[in-house]
């Protein structure tokens, strides 16, 4: 029996549960559908009434306007650059450190590991203010560096990679060691490929975290041409924007979310599978 199959008993109960879940899922989708529908209605119509899930009267002018004058593409660019860089760096840094903790022996190993894990408890906001002043002193605000670097050394990343690598059986490495392979070769040729599930999980979580990062980009990227999607969208949500261009605001939100939703739809098969093996212990 494969891992995802269910026991046969209680089919009727199964159906009831499924039915309830379908209803919940429909309700779950409702807000998303409504927003997309509003983005396809003219602003004037929305000033009169916002009810109705079907986009009638229909218009794509909100989107064409977006293409013409909006800064959304620029925001997307920054979000993508930041999210990709952060994910890549987190994966590199965490897997390197994870290998060291999982396989190497060195003095103070235990202390350093505890120190790393202790960092799990520190909320990012406890260091927000000092980081802000530090980056201000270095003149590094309004840059991708400022948005990425503070998030690269994440204890959870090291923790995940260490646990995962510890659980990998040693036979493959022992064979390599007999061939006098360097640790780096072992890491690169054996450990990394075997760690793909954990890397996928970590990469995914990091990407989504980077995409959603709000407070830090809010205070660090204050120039309009450095806004990420999250900060940019917040900046157009004010009172006045709502009254004039509800459709435009909704279109911006939809457009800004499209890349990540598409990404998700493409990779969704790997998500649960990756998480499955990554969260093994």
């Amino acid at each position: 029996m494969s891992a995802l199959q269910r026991p046969r008993k209680g089919r009727a109960l199964d159906l009831v549960i499924l039915g309830v879940t379908l209803v919940v899922a429909a309700l779950w989708l409702l807000p998303m559908i409504w927003v997309v529908s509003m983005s396809l209605k003219p602003n004037e119509e929305l000033m009169r009434s916002t009810s109705g899930l079907l986009p009638i009267p229909f218009t794509i002018e909100n989107y064409t306007n977006l293409m013409r004058v909006s800064a959304v593409p620029l925001w997307l660019f920054h979000s993508v650059v930041v999210a990709l860089s952060m994910t890549l760096m987190v994966l590199v840094v965490s897997s390197l450190a994870g290998y060291a903790f999982a396989r190497l022996h060195f003095p103070f190993k235990r202390t350093l590991f505890v120190l790393t894990i202790a960092g799990l408890m520190v909320p990012e906001h406890a260091v927000l203010i000092p980081l802000f002043t530090m980056f201000a002193d270095w003149g590094l605000h309004n840059s991708h560096t400022a948005l990425v670097m503070p998030r690269v050394a994440v204890p959870i990343g090291v923790f995940l990679m260490t646990q995962f690598m510890r659980a990998i059986p040693r036979e493959l490495e022992e064979a390599a060691e007999l061939d006098h392979a360097s640790h780096f070769t072992i890491f690169w040729r054996i450990m990394l490929p075997l760690s793909v599930p954990a890397l996928t999980t970590l990469g995914l979580f990091t990407f989504i975290f980077a995409w959603n990062d709000f407070l830090w980009p809010l205070v660090s990227a204050t120039r309009a041409d450095m806004f990420t999607v999250t900060v940019g969208l917040a900046s157009i949500q004010g009172n006045f924007a709502f009254s004039e261009g509800l459709g435009s605001v909704m279109a911006s939100a939809v457009f800004a979310s499209l890349p990540i939703v598409v990404l998700f739809l493409i990779f969704q098969r790997f998500i649960v599978a990756g998480v499955a093996m990554g969260a093994g212990k």
Binding site: M1, P7, K9, M32, V35, A100, T116, P130, F214
Partner: protein
């Protein structure tokens, strides 16, 4: 140390260096710097800095608004962390299994997690608007005055919690799905042979097998929800009458609106201490039951 040992130590240093250096500079040092800043009357712009010792903390102790934010934040954590854990668990149990339908359902519930916080707050602010929201036609049909969820002191926090639930269920659900897939099939087969009821299977086999994941999700939720900022900032701006003002919001407003960076640092550290306490508590409880 043997030559080999020294060699390993050097290799280890190289492997660890990227992480350790960044960690030290951008995480450990700022933590101490934060404490240092909190001992000053420090302004955001203009260069005014004066050492005042523990005066900020004394101020904090007598600050009614601070304690209000502590209560609000605790309230929020209490209503979201268990709920999120439970709902994501239930959803995981419901959508676990083969078949295209279940696959689609999994995608639907996960999809809401990929939106950024500003999109989520935009969606939910509109949905909950008493003027133009999604529920307004329903209120009108029932002949009732629409409830202004976000403007109502009793409902504002739960409304934010609802939006957070919609937003946050995806990732814990994925973790639970993963854990469920790890339960050996033999256990279920044995239960079938014993004609065990569905409920028994759930209670005696499924849940105990994924207990470590439940604890992990619970701790992660607590850590995450303690730090709520975006939803409160964008949906209610901390209102009405400070009913939804959270600790991180207070840090932001004190530092970036009122220029009082020193005081803000003190608030942030208070948050840290509070979270540390809760996380330790949760871990200790988890371990205690493990040993029981």
């Amino acid at each position: 140390m043997t030559r080999r040992g020294r060699h390993q130590a050097t290799t280890a240093a190289l492997f660890l260096a990227p992480f350790m250096i960044i960690y030290a500079v951008l995480m450990v040092y700022p933590l101490f710097k934060g404490v240092w800043i909190s001992l000053h009357d420090w302004e955001l712009a203009g260069g005014y800095r004066e050492f005042i010792g523990f005066l900020n903390y004394e101020d904090l102790w007598y600050d009614d608004l601070f304690w209000r934010t502590v209560r609000n934040t605790l309230f929020f954590v209490v209503i979201t962390a268990p709920t999120l854990t439970l709902v994501s668990l239930l959803l995981a149990l419901a959508v676990y299994g083969e078949g295209r339908l279940r696959g689609v359902l999994r995608s639907i519930f996960f999809m809401s997690s990929v939106f950024s916080v500003t999109v989520v707050t935009l969606i939910w602010s509109m949905v909950l608007s008493p003027d133009r929201g999604l529920l307004v036609p329903l209120w009108n049909m029932a002949g009732m005055q629409p409830i202004n969820f976000l403007g109502n002191a009793t409902f504002a926090m739960p409304a934010i919690a609802l939006a957070t639930l919609w937003w946050g269920v995806g990732l814990p659900m994925a973790l639970f799905l993963a854990a469920l897939s790890q339960i050996p099939a033999e256990q279920y087969e044995a239960a079938e042979l014993d004609h065990a009821s569905r409920f028994t299977v759930l209670w005696r086999i499924t849940l105990p097998s994924i207990r470590p994941t439940i604890v992990l999700v619970a701790v992660l939720q607590i850590v995450a929800q303690f730090q709520i900022f975006g939803q409160a900032h964008l949906m209610t701006q901390g209102g009405p009458a400070n009913a939804t003002r959270t600790m991180v919001q207070y840090v932001y407003q004190t530092g970036f609106r009122d220029w009082q960076v020193g005081y803000a640092a003190a608030i942030a550290l208070a948050l840290f201490v509070l979270m540390l306490g809760f996380s330790m508590l949760q871990l200790w409880l988890g371990r205690a039951r493990d040993e029981a």
